[in-house]
């Protein structure tokens, strides 16, 4: 009797155990990881420490601030967004390890804003984002390769490519400085190679080209040699196509040597706040040309910038507002739009589909059209050109943003008639 009962008990507990296993497995099948009815978990790996971190380490804070603002207003389709931040020190090996932690341990729903070409590529390959169907939203690099849907089916880029930027600059030179001598300082790696390709397509001939090894701008004496070379070649216009520290070093040394050609600053190194913090006197910058695809951080008349400033004050302890903050909040804003568009029955697949379907018309701060479609994962596709004023703020030429748009191939550079969708009320996607 007892034996029979015991056998029953065992059978019953086995059934319960099996049942509970089924039950616990069931939600996992219904919903993708990182997702509950009231929350979404996103993950970012980015250099928070290490030599590439200054400036970029403000991006996750900006993203978090905007997400908190959205959460405080009820979240997206009732879900609150939670961002897990990992420090990859700009080392691809570490980036993969951290991405794996995000995916396998923290079980994030999607990645957002991974930074650096080599790291992003390594993450995508090794963490098998496409095989696992994990969306990687708005990778933070201007290397055009990530917009290639075949190679990176779950990745979306946000920045226009460096090639596009070079082509827009070429068009500008053609219109305004035809027949003048042009000089160039560029980073001697993919960043610069992409740009050189763009300049070649635009038919720009340089009187002098100065490559610099990444990092060498921080070696005492190196930027000085750039300026002596420029002085000897005496171009009328000089394009600075480098990172912030290199741009600042070039301008700082030019100031020291009283060398003042017409400057054109690339978007990567043209953040006025960073330049000012790097001892480039704003007055020296006055009159230089700059490019950007988002509104200038100093432009408080722009509704998005105004909203971002408010969010930064309330949710980000009011850290210095610059391009990094704008970049972080723009990615966060677009992510919220995408999640909203994917609807209440959110899945990884539906998120990707939503960006492909409606991404081009999402409300967002970028002033150039977004290129998202079922065949393309490229984000912003153009630039506006402005002039730095005596306070170091970049002001659009002619008082309004005139955006030039193009592609990463041989397409022409044309003035865009894109009209940015109005900002949803209170900056909350609806």
């Amino acid at each position: 009797m007892i034996g029979k009962n015991r056998r029953k008990l065992i059978a019953a507990s086995a059934v319960i155990a099996a049942g509970s296993m089924l039950l616990s497995a069931a939600p996992a099948q219904a919903a993708d990881p990182g997702l509950t009815s009231s929350s979404i978990k996103l993950g970012i790996t980015i250099p928070m420490t290490g030599i590439a971190s200054p400036g970029y380490n403000k991006i996750p804070g900006a993203m978090k601030a905007y997400f908190e603002y959205v959460n405080a207003n009820g979240g997206v389709n009732g879900r609150k967004i939670n961002l897990v931040v990992k420090d990859d020190q700009y080392i691809p090996t570490l980036a993969v390890a951290k991405a794996n932690e995000l995916i396998l341990k923290d079980k994030v729903f999607a990645l957002i804003g991974t930074l650096g070409t080599a790291s992003t590529k390594a993450i995508s390959r090794s963490a098998q984002l496409s095989a696992r169907g994990i969306p990687s939203m708005f990778v933070n690099t201007g290397f055009s390769g990530f917009a290639d849907k075949k190679a990176y089916p779950t990745s979306f880029s946000l920045l226009p490519s460096y090639q596009m930027e070079a082509k827009v600059m070429g068009k500008y030179l053609d219109d305004n400085f035809a027949g003048k001598k042009v000089g160039l300082i560029y980073q001697d790696d993919d960043f610069g190679v992409d740009a050189l390709n763009g300049f070649k397509q635009a038919g720009v001939n340089f009187a002098i080209k100065i490559p610099y090894a990444s990092g060498s701008q921080a070696v005492a004496g190196v930027p000085g040699t750039w300026i002596t070379k420029l002085q000897a070649a005496a171009p009328d216009v000089v394009i600075l196509f480098g990172v912030s520290s290199a741009t600042a070093a070039a301008l700082g040394n030019a100031y020291a040597y009283k060398y003042a050609p017409k400057w054109i600053l690339g978007s990567v190194g043209g953040d006025a706040t960073t330049l000012a913090a790097n001892k480039v006197p704003p007055a020296f910058l006055a009159g230089a040309k700059g490019l950007s695809f988002a509104p200038a951080p100093s432009d408080a008349t722009d509704e998005y910038i105004k909203m971002f400033m408010d969010v930064n004050t309330t949710y980000n302890k009011g850290v210095a507002f610059d391009n990094n903050i704008v970049a972080g909040m723009t990615s966060a804003f677009l992510a919220v739009q995408a999640i909203k568009a994917a609807g209440p029955n959110l899945t990884r697949k539906s998120l990707i589909a939503a960006i492909e379907k409606g991404g081009a018309t999402f409300a967002n701060p970028a002033l150039s059209p977004l290129g998202y479609s079922s065949t393309s994962h490229i984000g912003a596709t153009g630039y506006w050109i402005g002039t730095y004023d005596a306070t170091g703020a970049l002001k659009p030429d002619g008082g309004k943003y005139t955006v030039y748009t193009t592609d990463s191939g041989t397409g022409p550079v044309v003035i865009s008639n894109y009209k940015r969708p109005a900002m949803p009320a209170k900056g909350l996607p609806n």
Partner: protein
């Protein structure tokens, strides 16, 4: 012609910055036979103290000596509590060749994390006290500004003063003696431990000066992850090795050689050859003279 002259000036002023770092590495090497990789961290920390002074009081001229003094104190404390333990525990066996290097690397990491904890990982900035705009010669602007001239003067004074202390005073003799033969020195009545601590303190002060001057001369930005300081360490150490590690004069010569070679290679050969040039220069010098330009003895066995 003018370009050559300016390139020369760039090389010399850059070399003087490497020289400050190289000098502090040589001082530590001479007093304790340790290659101090924490030097960059110590320089960074004293520069942060200097930054704090500028932040509170607003004077670079007050901040510079305070950074040097705090650099000396930090270095002395590290030597007292840390390097003594290290010498006691790890001066035997296979570990002896690598222990000081690894320990000071650990220290470097420790200092950086602590700076990050207290001041945050984002850039702070130091204003340059003197003009960075070059002097004018006729219609041309020289690659030499009041700030750079000041750096050259400080480096010269430091080198002359230190060389004097090392070569002409009893203290200098004691320093050299206690590094080469601690036991015999002790028998001769030299307070070896005290002398070593003094060597570290002077190196710490030189490092603090290097940090303050480099930051004011460069872009003014300061962060625990500063690329400038990592490269200052690498180039300072390379300069010291080129110079021979044992000689202050050698360190300065090595630094000037590195600065000049880099400036001329970058201007006249290729803009992106910085790092590989430093390696090749080091290799060439060491192939000709395995113990640096000014070596005490040929073929010394460490």
């Amino acid at each position: 012609m003018f370009q050559i002259f300016n390139t020369f000036l760039i090389g010399v002023t850059a070399g003087s910055i490497y020289a400050l770092m190289a000098i502090s590495m040589v001082l530590v090497w001479r007093s304790t036979r340790v290659v101090n990789f924490a030097q960059a961290g110590m320089a960074l920390l004293s520069t942060y103290f200097g930054y704090e002074v500028i932040h509170q009081v607003g004077s670079y001229w007050l901040a510079l000596p305070i950074a040097m003094i705090s650099g000396a104190i930090v270095a002395a404390v590290i030597e007292l509590v840390f390097m003594r333990l290290l010498l006691k525990h790890s001066s035997q066996g296979a570990i002896a060749s690598i222990a000081p290097i690894i320990a000071t690397l650990g220290l470097l990491g420790l200092i950086k994390s602590m700076i990050g904890y207290f001041w945050g990982n984002q850039d702070v900035s130091i204003e340059s006290p003197l003009s960075n705009v070059g002097f004018t010669l006729g219609t041309q602007t020289l690659a030499l500004s009041p700030m750079k001239l000041f750096i050259l003067i400080v480096v010269s004074i430091l080198v002359i003063a230190l060389t004097f202390v090392f070569q002409r005073t009893n203290l200098g003799l004691a320093l050299r003696a206690s590094a080469y033969a601690p036991e015999i020195s002790r028998l001769a009545g030299i307070k070896v431990d005290l002398v070593r601590t003094f060597g570290w303190a002077v190196a710490g002060a030189a490092g603090g000066a290097a940090g303050m001057l480099q930051t004011a001369n460069g872009n003014g930005a300061l962060s625990p992850d500063s690329l400038e300081f990592s490269l200052l360490l690498a180039f300072g150490f390379i300069s010291a090795v080129i110079g021979g590690l044992d000689s202050l004069l050698g360190a300065v010569l090595g630094a000037l050689l590195l600065g000049l070679v880099l400036a001329f290679v970058l201007t006249y050969i290729g803009g992106s050859l910085v790092f590989i040039t430093a390696f090749v220069l080091l290799l060439v010098v060491l192939l000709i003279r395995p113990a640096g330009i000014i070596s005490q003895r040929a073929g010394r066995r460490a």
